[in-house]
Assembly symmetry: C2
Homo-oligomer: 254 residues x 2
């Protein structure tokens, strides 16, 4: 039985809690959060504390708080030499205080309070200072995911950067699509089959093979027309930059 | 029985052909293409011609060729007063020669030779000059899709523009993600669950509700770190522009 304590209870830790709670190989011994949380059935018996000095004994402490706060929070823990991991893609392992054994347990996914995600396929990126802790994190990860990978802080930083492009920036393009349709009183749902196919295409084709469209073809007439239709100057800037980059990339191949 | 002739046989028309061929309410009377096409079983008996003067009689002619070529090609057809439609999102209905009855039959999706798509949920955007032709296009569309919508050329141009953002530009962001991972010898598959969840999120949340990440939070430390990690100057430019726009959009709300 692995005894786990969650420190912080935002989107990532509450999603991890939901996934780990179901397995019978771990005990959620306690949840700590600065803010009081009222747990509802079936979780009303999970011990909760908002007092950092009352955090109990466990095999793994999982910190799920904003990146900027990890360092000072981990320094403020009153115990030593235990395994303390954070769940951040962007923070290095060594932002954690060295008074405890350090590690990372980063589920590469986007979490929202409103959505339950299935952890089975989510890559869990782990890192630890010694092989025994790494093995423990591996075992913990395998309880919820079929894809546990050891990744260094340096590589994880790049992975997180790539994630920002394919998640946050992609979602912003969805917003722009939505804005353009709103202007015409057209429902966003019109674009959803296209969005779904664009995402599933790259499970069987590389993004290069999947690329189509006026910028790739260097279809100047359509590009001109689109720039003319774009009333929003910031959307226009993005259109120009994407078109320029796609032209540069595919121009030679045509 | 609706008699259909396909004029041109690229990604869109061959996908439409595959979908329409299965229904028992239409006959594919002929396929015309400038380039000879060898049809294999079960399509070896579909009449084919590469001679524009030998195009037969039909209820609907579906043009699937590059936007720039639609106008002159439709002018070169030897018959008159028949229903001729194009399948383009970006071209207005009136680029078609007025010697025939004009219409549009635009399936809003991305098509690749390598992938079969299910038309059931694909919006089919139709337009015609008279109500009888519109009804015929409606009936044709309903044979393959549950989502046939009448949309004017003006609105369709905006819809196509939005489609470029959520398809071509999104796919370019996938390429950048893939490039960043290649540089670290990490497999692109690591990002696929994130890509899939990002796309399915907006089926239940609006893009605004779904947005997360350092740019939205205005997490300057992470943004600085990412800009430092980006070796490719064109990727950097995109990162800066997205971050600026997300800051502008969400900055006030924080």
């Amino acid at each position: 039985m692995i005894k786990v304590i969650f420190l912080g209870f935002g989107n990532v830790n509450s999603s991890l809690f939901n996934a780990l709670y179901k397995t019978d190989k771990i005990t959620v011994k306690q949840i700590y959060s600065r803010n009081y949380i009222k747990f509802i059935s079936p979780f009303e018996h999970i011990p909760f504390t908002d007092d950092i000095s009352k955090i109990e004994d466990a095999d793994i402490y999982i910190i799920g708080i904003p990146d900027d706060a990890i360092s000072s929070f981990s320094e403020s823990l009153s115990f030593q030499n235990r395994l303390v991991v954070h769940t951040s893609g962007g923070a290095a392992m060594n932002v954690l205080s060295s008074k405890n054994r350090r590690g990372v347990f980063y589920p590469l996914q986007t979490f929202s309070k409103q959505r339950k995600v299935d952890f089975k396929n989510i890559p869990i990126c782990i890192e630890a200072e010694n092989s025994k802790d790494l093995e423990l994190l591996q075992n913990l990860g395998k309880l919820i995911s079929g894809n546990v990978v050891e990744i260094s802080s340096e590589k994880r930083a790049k992975l997180h950067l790539a994630a920002v492009f394919v998640n946050n920036f992609v979602n912003h393009l969805y917003e722009i699509g939505s804005d353009i349709l709103k202007g015409e009183n057209l429902p966003f749902e019109l674009l959803q089959p296209l969005i779904a196919e664009t995402a599933s295409k790259i499970e069987s084709l590389s993004p290069e093979e999947a690329q189509t469209g006026p910028a790739k073809r260097n279809d100047k007439k359509t590009i001109e027309k689109h720039l003319h239709l774009l009333a929003n100057s910031t959307h226009k800037k993005l259109y120009e930059l994407f078109t320029e980059q796609l032209n540069q990339k595919y121009g030679k191949e045509l």
